[in-house]
C-alpha cells in the first residue's frame, strides 16, 4: 500500500517537473531556429526511413522537392519550361520514334559521385525490368531500347511513334525520379529496397528523422552549387529544412501562431482567417483579399452520369447550370476568394491568356435553344463585377483588374430559362412547385461528395441549396475517398461534386491538352455498372470528342496549331455541358514571415508556391532569413 502510494507520488512529482520545464525546445540542439525553415509535412509517415519512391506505397509528401530530381519542369505559375537535369528540351527525330536527351555536366549525387547518362539509362532499364515499380508499364509500353552515346547524352528508341514520351520526365507534381546507378545496381530486389540513407540529387540531404514519422530534418548540401536548383537559381536557401506534421488544421494554425511553422500547404478559410488575426506575420499569396493562391491547375465542377436519365439530355444539364447563382456559390460557400470559370480549364493567368480571354467573344455569342426557334444567350460578363460589389460590401479592398481577380464571367442566373428548358422536355411542377420528371415521378438528385476535399464539399452544399430553391429535391451523400472513387468508377451515382480531370479540366501549364482529354476517347469507354479505370466516369461517348482527341494526338505538343484545337475542344465541352465547371482551385498556401521572407507572392510571382511539388526545389532557394532570432 505504502509502496504504491509512494510510486504514485513519485510519478506525479516527475510529471509535474516535466511540465514545469515549459515548452521543450522545438528544435534539436545545434540546429538554430533562424537557420531552419519549418514546413508542413502534410501527413505522418506510416513507415519511416524508406526512400524508395519508385514503388507505389512509399509515402512522399515533401521529399521529392527537397532531395529528388528529374529532367524537366514546367512551372505552373509562370508556365516557364525549366531544364533541370537535362541541358536542353527533348529532341525527337522526325517520326517521333527516337528521343535524344542532353544532360547537364556538373551535377553530383549527394555522396559526391558525378551524375551521368549512365544513371538515366540505368533508371529506365531498371524500372523496365521490374514489375511493380512505378512507370514500369509505361516504359515497357513505349521504350524499345535505351542507351547512351556519351556521358551526357541518352538516346531512347521508342516502340511506336510518341511525341509526348518526355512527359514521363517532365513534372508538374512529379515525374520519374532518377536513380543513382552506383547504389541501385547492387540491389537485388528493387521493390523491397529502402534506399536509406538516400543518395540524392536535390540540394538538401536527409539529416535526421523521427522514428514515429512526424518529422524529417534536411540539411543543405555543402556542394549545393552542384545541383540543378543550385545551378539554375544560384541561391543557397535556408540551411536546414524541418518538415513536420502537426495534425489537423487547428494544430497547424496553433503552431504557426507560436512561430513554430513557417510554411504550410493549405487551410480552410475559417482557420486561415483565425491565423491572420492571431499572427500578423502570416499571409498567403495576396497580402489582402482574396488572400489565397488561385493558380493551381485544377477546377471544381458538378458532374453527372450521362447515362442516367434525365441527365443524358443536354438541355437538362444546361437548365441545372442556369439555376445556379455562381456569385452566391463563390461568395457564400467558398468565401469569394477564387475565380469563376465557365469552361473546363482553370482560370489561372496562363490559361486565361490562352483560353478564357480569347474565347470570350465566342462565349458572348453562344446561344442555346430554349424553345423551338427561341434562343438564349447564357453568358454573363457581369459576374466579376458582382463579385467585386459583394467583396466591397464585406469591407474587403478590391484592387486591380476584376477579370484577373474573379475570372471572365459565368452563366447567367436564369431559373426562368431553366424552367422553359425543362418544360420543353416534358418536366412539370406539382402543386407545391416541386419539379416532376417527364414520367410524373418527383425529381430527386443525390450529390455524392467527399468532405475531406473541402471546396467540392461546400460547393455540393451550395448546389443542393440552390437547386432545392429551384424546386428540386436534393440531398448530399458524403463519402470517403475510396468508396467515392469506387462509386464514380462504377457509374453508381447521379451527380458528383468533383474536381480534377473529368471533361478535360486538369492541366499542365502547357497548351497541349491531350494528356487530359485522351481518356475520354470512346475506345476506353465502359458503360455504367462496369468498372472504368481511366477516368471517364461521366461516361462521355461522342464521335465529336473522338475526332478532336485524334487530332490532338497527331499533333506534337509543341506545335503552335495546338491552341486552336484545344479551343475547339473547350467549345465542344462547353456547348455540350458535359459537366458544369464552376470555380478554379484555390489553396491557402500560408507562410509566416517572422523568421523567413521572400516567399513567392502575388507581388513577386517568381514561381509556384507549392513547395511539396517537385518544382518546389526552385522556390526554396529564394527564401531568405529576416534576421530575427
Amino acid at each position: 500500500m505504502k509502496k504504491i502510494g509512494l510510486v504514485l507520488l513519485l510519478a506525479i512529482f516527475i510529471s509535474t517537473g516535466v511540465i514545469l520545464q515549459g515548452i521543450a525546445q522545438q528544435l534539436p540542439p545545434g540546429i538554430p531556429r533562424e537557420e531552419t525553415l519549418i514546413i508542413d509535412q502534410i501527413f505522418r509517415y506510416s513507415i519511416v526511413n524508406n526512400f524508395n519512391l519508385w514503388v507505389s506505397g512509399v509515402p512522399n509528401p515533401t521529399r521529392q522537392s527537397l532531395a529528388f530530381d528529374t529532367l524537366w519542369y514546367v512551372d505552373q505559375q509562370t508556365g516557364k519550361w525549366i531544364n533541370s537535369l537535362a541541358k536542353s528540351a527533348p529532341i525527337y527525330n522526325k517520326d517521333f520514334t527516337e528521343l535524344t536527351i542532353k544532360l547537364r555536366d556538373g551535377i553530383y549525387w549527394s555522396d559526391g559521385v558525378k551524375f551521368t547518362a549512365d544513371d538515366v539509362v540505368f533508371t529506365i532499364q531498371n524500372i523496365k525490368d521490374h514489375p511493380g515499380m512505378l512507370w514500369h508499364e509505361q516504359f515497357n509500353l513505349y521504350v524499345d531500347k535505351v542507351s547512351k552515346t556519351d556521358n551526357f547524352t541518352v538516346v531512347i528508341k521508342l516502340k511506336r511513334p510518341n511525341s509526348r514520351f518526355h512527359y514521363l520526365f517532365t513534372t508538374r507534381y512529379n515525374a520519374c525520379y532518377i536513380q543513382p546507378k552506383h547504389i541501385w545496381e547492387k540491389v537485388s530486389d528493387p521493390l523491397k529496397f529502402t534506399f536509406y540513407p538516400p543518395v540524392t540529387l536535390g540540394q538538401y540531404v536527409l539529416k535526421d528523422s523521427d522514428p514515429a514519422g512526424y518529422w524529417e530534418l534536411y540539411e543543405r548540401r555543402t556542394d549545393w552549387q552542384r545541383t540543378s536548383a543550385g545551378i539554375i537559381t544560384r541561391k543557397a536557401g535556408p540551411k536546414y529544412v524541418l518538415t513536420i506534421f502537426y495534425g489537423p488544421n487547428e494544430k497547424k494554425v496553433g503552431a504557426m501562431i507560436q512561430h513554430q511553422l513557417d510554411l504550410l500547404m493549405d487551410l480552410d478559410i475559417e482557420a486561415f482567417q483565425t491565423l491572420l488575426k492571431r499572427n500578423s506575420y502570416a499571409r498567403s499569396w495576396y497580402k489582402d483579399f482574396p488572400w489565397a493562391w488561385r493558380d493551381e491547375l485544377d477546377i471544381r465542377y458538378y458532374g453527372f452520369n450521362l447515362e442516367k436519365a434525365p441527365y443524358n439530355i443536354k438541355d437538362v444539364r444546361w437548365a441545372l447550370a442556369l439555376a445556379l447563382d455562381v456569385v452566391k456559390l463563390n461568395a457564400e460557400y467558398i468565401g469569394g476568394v477564387t475565380r469563376v470559370t465557365p469552361i473546363p480549364q482553370p482560370a489561372t493567368p496562363f490559361h486565361m491568356k490562352y483560353f478564357h480571354k480569347p474565347l470570350k467573344t465566342w462565349l458572348r455569342n453562344l446561344r442555346i435553344e430554349v424553345e423551338k426557334g427561341k434562343y438564349f444567350k447564357p453568358f454573363d460578363e457581369s459576374v466579376p463585377e458582382r463579385l467585386a460589389t459583394w467583396a466591397k460590401s464585406q469591407g474587403y479592398p478590391v484592387a486591380g483588374d476584376l477579370e484577373d481577380l474573379f475570372g471572365i464571367g459565368w452563366w447567367k442566373y436564369a431559373p426562368d430559362v431553366s424552367e422553359r428548358l425543362l418544360v420543353k422536355h416534358g418536366f412539370k411542377r406539382d402543386k407545391d412547385g416541386k419539379w416532376l420528371l417527364p414520367d410524373g415521378k418527383p425529381w430527386k438528385i443525390t450529390i455524392i461528395a467527399a468532405p475531406d476535399e473541402v471546396d467540392v464539399f461546400r460547393l455540393a452544399i451550395g448546389a443542393a441549396d440552390q437547386w432545392k430553391k429551384f424546386g428540386i429535391d436534393v440531398d448530399i451523400e458524403s463519402l470517403e475517398r475510396t468508396p467515392y472513387y469506387t462509386r464514380q468508377n462504377m457509374g453508381d451515382f447521379i451527380c458528383t461534386s468533383s474536381w480534377g480531370m473529368a471533361a478535360g479540366s486538369g492541366a499542365s501549364a502547357v497548351i497541349d491538352k491531350w494528356p487530359y482529354a485522351y481518356f475520354l476517347h470512346s475506345r476506353y469507354y465502359k458503360p455504367t455498372g462496369e468498372l472504368q479505370t481511366t477516368g471517364n466516369y461521366l461516361r462521355i461517348k461522342s464521335a465529336k470528342v473522338d475526332e478532336l482527341i485524334d487530332k490532338m494526338e497527331a499533333m506534337p505538343p509543341t506545335d503552335p496549331k495546338n491552341v486552336a484545337i484545344v479551343r475547339d475542344w473547350l467549345k465542344l465541352c462547353t456547348e455540350e455541358m458535359f459537366a458544369i465547371p464552376t470555380l478554379s482551385f484555390k489553396k491557402f498556401v500560408t507562410f509566416d514571415t517572422y523568421y523567413w521572407t521572400n516567399f513567392p507572392t502575388a507581388e513577386n510571382p517568381y514561381g509556384q508556391p507549392c513547395y511539396w511539388f517537385m518544382g518546389g526545389k526552385f522556390v526554396l532557394p529564394y527564401i531568405t532569413s529576416t534576421g530575427r532570432k
Partner: protein, 287 residues
C-alpha cells in the same frame, strides 16, 4: 408513481437526472415545432452569437443552433434507443438461452460470443460505416451499432444467470416443486431486472458515445443531424478556432447533460432496485 415521487424527493441523483431528462425530452419534442427544416441552410444570418432572437446563436451554415440542436438531440436519442433495444434483445435472448439451457447449446453459443468478442470492435465499425455510410439511415445505424454491442452483455447476462442458479433459493424453489419458468419469473427476474436496467442505460450511453466517435471521424451519416454530426460540422467549419463557441459548445453541453442524467438515473434506479438493498429496506421496515 409513488416510487418516482419518493425517489424524486429523497435521492438527489435521481432528482437531477430526472429533471434533466425531462428537459432533454422536452427539447426533442420541441423539435417537431421547429420553424426550419434541418436540411435548410443559409436561412438565418451566419455566425451570430446567442441573442434574443437566436437563443443559442447561429452556425456558419446559416442554421439556428437551438432548433438544430433539438432535432439533433431527438435523433441521437432515437438512434441510441434503436441500437440498445436491439442489442439487449439479442443479448438477453442469448444470455438466457445459454445460461438456462446449458450443455451443448451453451458451449456453441459461448464460443460464438467469444469469437465475436475478440474481434476489434472500433476498426470493424469504422470499416463498415466507412464503406456503407451512404446507405446508413436511422435503422441502419441503429442496427450497425446494435450488431457490435450484444456479445459482451450477453456474456455478462449468462454469468449473472449462472450465479443466480447457484444460489440457494433456486435449489429451495426447485425442491419445492415450482416450475422452472415460475422460478425464473419469481426469483430471478427481480434480481436480473435492475441489472438489465443499468446495462440498458450503459448500452445506451455506449451507443451515444459511438455515434460521437464515428461522427468525429466523419464516418457517420453526416446528413442526419445528431449531436455527433453537429460536433462534426462545427469542427468542419473550425468553430473552436473561429470562436463560434456556441456552435460546438451547445451540442457538447447537451451531450454531457444527457449522458450524465441518464447515468445518474441508472445509478439511482439500480440502487433502488438492487435486491440486496431491497432486503435491507424490508428489514428496516420490520425492525
Amino acid at each position: 408513481m409513488g416510487v418516482i415521487r419518493s425517489l424524486l424527493k429523497y435521492d438527489k441523483r435521481f432528482t437531477f437526472g430526472f429533471f434533466i431528462i425531462v428537459f432533454i425530452i422536452f427539447l426533442s419534442i420541441l423539435s417537431f415545432f421547429s420553424p426550419y427544416d434541418p436540411s435548410d441552410r443559409y436561412i438565418v444570418p451566419r455566425d451570430r452569437p446567442p441573442n434574443l432572437q437566436y437563443i443559442l446563436g447561429t452556425t456558419s451554415l446559416g442554421q439556428d443552433v437551438f432548433w438544430y440542436l433539438t432535432i439533433a438531440i431527438r435523433n441521437s436519442l432515437i438512434i441510441g434507443l434503436i441500437s440498445v433495444s436491439l442489442s439487449r434483445l439479442i443479448a438477453t435472448t442469448i444470455g438466457l438461452v445459454s445460461g438456462y439451457l446449458g450443455g451443448n447449446v451453451d458451449s456453441i453459443l459461448t464460443t460464438l460470443v467469444d469469437s465475436f468478442n475478440v474481434i476489434p470492435r472500433l476498426p470493424i465499425l469504422v470499416l463498415i460505416s466507412f464503406a456503407f455510410r451512404g446507405y446508413l439511415n436511422f435503422l441502419g445505424i441503429g442496427l450497425l451499432l446494435a450488431f457490435f454491442d450484444w456479445a459482451w452483455p450477453s456474456k455478462r447476462y449468462r454469468s449473472q444467470i449462472l450465479s443466480l442458479r447457484e444460489r440457494e433459493f433456486t435449489n429451495t424453489a426447485i425442491f419445492s416443486g415450482r416450475r422452472t419458468l415460475g422460478i425464473i419469473l419469481k426469483e430471478h427476474v427481480p434480481f436480473l431486472l435492475p441489472y438489465i436496467m443499468a446495462d440498458f442505460i450503459s448500452g445506451f450511453l455506449w451507443a451515444i458515445g459511438m455515434q460521437i466517435t464515428l461522427s468525429i471521424l466523419g464516418l457517420f451519416n453526416l446528413d442526419i443531424p445528431t449531436i455527433g454530426t453537429m460536433i462534426y460540422w462545427a469542427n468542419y467549419y473550425q468553430s473552436i478556432l473561429k470562436g463560434t463557441w456556441w456552435w460546438i459548445g451547445s451540442p457538447i453541453v447537451a451531450l454531457i447533460l444527457t449522458v450524465m442524467s441518464f447515468y445518474f438515473l441508472s445509478v439511482s434506479l439500480s440502487s433502488y432496485l438492487d435486491p440486496r438493498l431491497r432486503v435491507l429496506r424490508v428489514k428496516e421496515k420490520t425492525e
